[in-house]
Amino acid sequence: MSEAVKEPSMLLQKDMIAKNYDAITSKHETGRKVSSTFVPGNLNELLMCFDILNNLPEINAIQNGMRKLSGGYIMEAEKSGHSEDVCTYVKADIGMMGRGNIAPNGKPFPDPDVLLLSYTGCYTFMKWFELLRAEYKCPTLMLHVPYEGDGHSTKNMRDYVVKQLKEVIIPGLEQVSGVKFDIDRLREYLANSAKAEDDLVWCLDQGKRKPSPIDSYFGGVYYIGPIFTAFRGRQDAIDYYKALRLEIQARIDAGQGPMTPEGKSLDDQNYRLVVEGPPNWTSFREFWKMFYDEGAVVVASSYTKVGGMYDLGFRHDPANPLESLADYCLGCYTNRNLPTRVDILTKYVEEYEADGILINSIKSCNSFSAGQLMIMKEVEKRTGKPGAFIETDLVDPRYFSAANVKNRLESYFQMIEQKRQGAHRAA
């Protein structure tokens, strides 16, 4: 394949990520502290209050997946005893450590100073950090976020999270960093977050247009990058979303669809889809091509909500700083129960006027893949739109069977087409 064509916002983001990796790998020169933490329930603003850098193992696994390194790392981890069924993000991370822990900038990752584990629905996170703790022997701070098993959070749950922030997380971070917590600093960062979040929501909302100027899955994973990772609360994230907004606005003005890696915009859109589940990263472009070659555009996805459901109205709130961090963690998509996920996906199919729902179920993700077939059937029933189910993996290249996936996608698209024709005939 030719070199992927990148839009200005992508290049901007690439630069931000590169700078963050440089900051992390130069911690010994600069004396800055580094934390490892996860995307869902990511407390970036809080870390910023202590001048701690944010390194995200999931993002490293994704980077290694897209750079075709994860396969080797996974085998490395398997050699050290991690079975085939273990989450491949974990194995890619462990395997990377086994092979010198080299960051994408070619320099070794320094050991983290603290592991900040916000537990938001994925139990593997706990096991993952147990492994990291054994490796790095550094302080581990766990924020236990109660699961929204009843479909909503209660005051009690919120108080419980706030109490942990006050009594465990903040004192812990103070100790690691030697910096005193300043709530006004947090308020300032949260105000920055909210600004960027407003623009992100505007961007994702444009999927409702026809043609859609965005792809909310393959493009969407870029759009969520800064806000889900080490940049939320920072000025550069605000600037990024302003730039992204302008870029999307320009496409709307020109009547264009999203840009594909081949540098052409997908204007001729035959199928509008809602997608549930993360993308496959090891064959990301090949996977995307299966969609745009058929004129399929993803208008909304749940994966772009795993690091915060801003589209449902949540904003980080400088007036209630700790409470809003608690609400943020509680409301992450991964922390929602199955009926709520059905409600959200149904709403997407309807509001974005999609032709159906596609589930990309992840082979090695036991916690998130459970129940997806039921989700699909329920969304189908409620919307009357057909669903389809494919299975791949996050970063294990062995579990992407291109011929099978393509076959199913093509069948699905033709099925939508056939149903449409059937509906026309009946009408």
Binding site: K363, Y399, N407, S411, G422
Partner: protein, 430 residues
Amino acid sequence: MRCFIGIDLGSTTTKAVVMDENQHVLGRGITNSRSNYDTAAAVSKQEALIDTRLTLFRRGLASVPEVAGRVDEIISELERHFRHVQFMEQLDDLEATCVSNIKGTRFSGLETAARDVLAEVFRRLKAHSASLFAPGARRKSDFFRDLAGSDFMQIGEAACREAGLAFELILNLYDKSIIEVENRPPAGDMEGKFVRALEKGSMTASSILKPVQDALAIPLEETYVVGTGYGRVRLPFPKEHIRSEILCHGLGAHMMYPETRTVLDIGGQDTKGIQVDPQGIVENFQMNDRCAAGCGRYLGYIADEMNMGLHELGPLAMKSNKQVRINSTCTVFAGAELRDRLALGEKREDILAGLHRAIILRAMSILSRAGGVKDQFTFTGGVAKNEAAVRELRKLIKENYGDVTININPESIYTGALGGATFAVRAVVH
């Protein structure tokens, strides 16, 4: 006349169906998929057109009072002669190819001997060929590769022994040449071959000749071709002529049994559970993913492991009265389990019965993921020809879904191609 053709390029076999504009099936053709999908598509299409000619002959003869009651016999004779003519033509090609492959150091000094032995082998093959196409003769396969291959082994070995030449030399020529022959596009002139077939037979009465010749004169125009199956992207068709096999199977099953709501297709490397609406439009489907265990190839592998023919598995399993439980859904592991059971003294038929159940259990799981089984239920694909698999399926459907009408068409292997041909008609006529 206008012909609408559906071609299903499967992993094991390639099937074609020819339809007229009223959606009546005129002919069906099948061939092994080889490593060359282009040729497989061309051969299966030609086979279906040959079958179409036979249908036209049948129609032509139907109105001839003199042959009333004998039409089947006449057609069958004509077909046997036609197949023989075709076989001889392919043998000539194979012989010429073998001779042209006598080259290289391994033949140095042996060229003449090899050529002589080949001449003798092919002389005997041709002499023997008549018996392959004699009335009532049972052929193990209709594919040239299989027919010529088994005879070549026997006759070739004998001829080499007599000539004092190493059989490996000749076998090597055959192996090399059969691939070339098989991958060549089929020879044309179907009509000419029918004329020669007519000449060979006893069908000289003008009451037969005239209607057959009239039917032969009808031009078969390839109005629209739709391709489906795993090899579909290899078809030299524009994109709109290519349909997913899920849709084709759904529609094909609907054409065979209009009341069909659920379709199970077990093919060479995938198992599909499909739900269709009253118009044959696919509503939902599930397929095996990442692993082809429990598909047709599973049986092929087991047949190899047991040193049996694929078609012998079902009948042997039917003899079982004590099913051995096979747990593994992995084809390779099932092979290990099979040897383990044999070593423990279990009977072959009982183990085979267990293996058939294992396949169907996997299919049941895919069906339930696809939304269960609704009345009527149609079972298609190569595995639907296996009586032991069918028996297990009936049992499990009844246990899980109660009384459901189960349709199995003897021509079910053509379901995908039939759906393709129907799409072809719809694309032009409707």
